[in-house]
Amino acid sequence: MSDAIFMRFRQPSVLPGFGLTLGFTLAYLSGIVLIPLAALILKSAGLGWADIWRIATDARTLAALRLSFGASFIAASINAVFGLLLAWVLVRYSFPGRRLVDAMIDLPFALPTAVAGIALTALYAPNGWIGQLLAPLGLKVAYTPIGIVIALTFISLPFIVRTVEPVLRDLDREIEEAAATLGASRGQTLLRVLLPSLMPAILTGYALALARSIGEYGSVIFIAGNIPYVSEIAPLLIVIRLEEFNYAGATAIAALMLAISFTMLLVINLIQTWNRRRFGHGS
């Protein structure tokens, strides 16, 4: 009986070891992801629904969530455009120093985020190199939400570039040539031929960049100004609740962020599946 159920899940495959790999996957996922998440939900379950609702609809929580998700969306969108451009340049053109530029893309990964935050703040503060050029124009970057977007754009840049790059490299140039011989204009080639093939990679990178930005704390607190209702991000609000020894309140906000993030990632995944079906790539 149990064998029959087991068989139902079993996909026909030429490779042996399905049971072992499934077991390993589940155990690994539980250990690394599910157990910490369960602990989080358990901790916030100590609050009643009424308390969770009160925290979730608190004006300050809402402002912080709006800022965190809004800034992350903007940053991920900026990177989706310019990350794609960077990947294109790196793959399609050869120029002196290309390897150097290629290596530089990963630097935001390697740099401790606090260092990134301090460096960006030093640059964009009113007495910094860039900040003092912007100040006469009445443009304030550090200690405003714009600063947050800049920090998030910096730390999430590698995701798009690194996910799009290999796909772009595998893409045959002949496809573009074929499109051209069939009479497609450059714009048409880009929109109807290239972008659909790249879309899954861009979306994956976009989702990763978004997820990374939403959770970012280290670099943002230095450049944000951290004024409640204006430039206070949700992760900072969690830390504030922790400093008040209010563990339940902190976990409630964390669980809330998690729920929103999960929904967003799910939606992005669904778009990807739909996209794949529509253009007939993959299975």
Partner: protein
């Protein structure tokens, strides 16, 4: 995240210490940010003193960070023998959450377990260009004030209460006017850093703001390190007596068998060498007669209220800084108009 990493590092450190070196005793002192310089010298003095007295060597490890997050590390299992924090409320939190510190810890050592005290003063730019003299100037439209977030920083709570104390006196206890004043002060704050050192960086390195609300010892330290040609200290008419307390974490010390040496360590703070070092590092010693008179001359006289005027931390903490407390209400959009 940074603090968490630091705490983790400290925890690893403590774990390795506990397992190694059975011949020599090791103490872990979990402290807050601006005591680095003080305890570096004090630890040397105590180790020497202990060697002379008992013939045994003792090594003292330090862990520094924001007072609240340090308290949380101890709650979460950091094996501190003694805690020397910025706020009584933080030690109370450890006592309540773990029971490793007795509830009456405040009465175990002299002066409410505060061997040294400090106060809150203003640090302004050289020449005092905005002519900031007292607390009322901080609510002026043309003045920008730098202070950390009282939700996350122990020192910032002293700043908040010092401003409140002045307003209470000024407006004869009219709660509405006091709130309005403190509200306009905090609306002059362009950057709300999470810790006291962060605020000092914002003010000193980034050049933001006209006034930094600062611990007296931090203000002196800034002058010493950056030179008096850049900044000057302005002493307000009223401020608050900040009492950073110390306590023995009995639960940890008993298990590690370090109770005697840890207790001696704390008591050494009250002796001549301890008080002298405190004064040298710009803390006001509890027993000034034991400190160097030359050091004492640097402390200006001013009227100081104490936390007991606010009903003690047990009352002040939730009332002013709890979730939805007075400080949170300042930033409510309704009150911003």
């Amino acid at each position: 995240m940074r603090r968490f990493r630091m705490a983790l590092l400290a925890a690893f450190g403590a774990a390795t210490i506990a397992t190694s070196a059975s011949g020599e005793t090791t103490l872990l002192n979990v402290s807050y940010d601006p005591t680095r310089e003080l305890y570096r010298q004090f630890n040397e003095a105590f180790a020497e003193h202990w060697q002379e007295k008992t013939g045994k060597t003792v090594t003292i490890r330090m862990s520094h960070g924001g007072s609240g997050s340090q308290a949380r590390s101890v709650i979460d299992g950091l094996e501190a023998d003694v805690v020397t924090l910025a706020l009584e409320a933080d030690i109370n939190a450890i006592a309540e959450a773990t029971g490793k510190i007795p509830a009456d810890w405040r009465g175990r050592l002299a002066n409410n377990s505060a061997p040294y005290t400090s106060t809150i003063v203003f640090l302004v730019r050289q020449g005092n260009p905005k002519n900031v003299q007292d607390w009322d100037d901080l609510a002026r439209d043309d003045v920008q004030v730098i202070t950390p977030n009282p939700n996350t920083s122990g020192g910032a709570r002293w700043n908040f209460l010092a401003a409140w104390a002045w307003a209470q006196k000024q407006f004869a206890g009219d709660e509405e006017k006091i709130r309005a004043y403190v509200g306009s002060l905090y609306r002059n704050v362009p950057v709300l850093d999470t810790g006291a050192r962060g605020s000092t960086t914002t003010f000193v390195q980034r050049g933001i703001g006209d006034v930094l609300l600062s611990w007296e010892n931090e203000a002196f330290l800034a002058l010493e390190e950056l030179g008096p040609e850049q900044f000057e200290i302005v002493v307000p008419s009223v401020s608050i007596l900040a009492e950073p307390p110390v306590a023995l974490v009995e639960g940890n010390a008993e298990r590690k068998g370090t109770t005697a040496v840890a207790q001696a360590y704390l008591e050494f703070l009250y002796t001549r060498p301890g008080q002298t070092l405190a004064a040298r590092h710009y803390y006001r010693p509890f027993k000034p007669e034991l400190a160097d008179p030359a050091d004492l001359e640097r402390f200006p006289d001013l009227e100081l209220v104490t936390i007991d005027d606010f009903g003690g931390w047990v009352e002040a903490q939730p009332h002013f800084f709890g979730d939805g407390g007075v400080f949170d209400q300042i930033y409510k959009p309704a009150s911003r108009s």
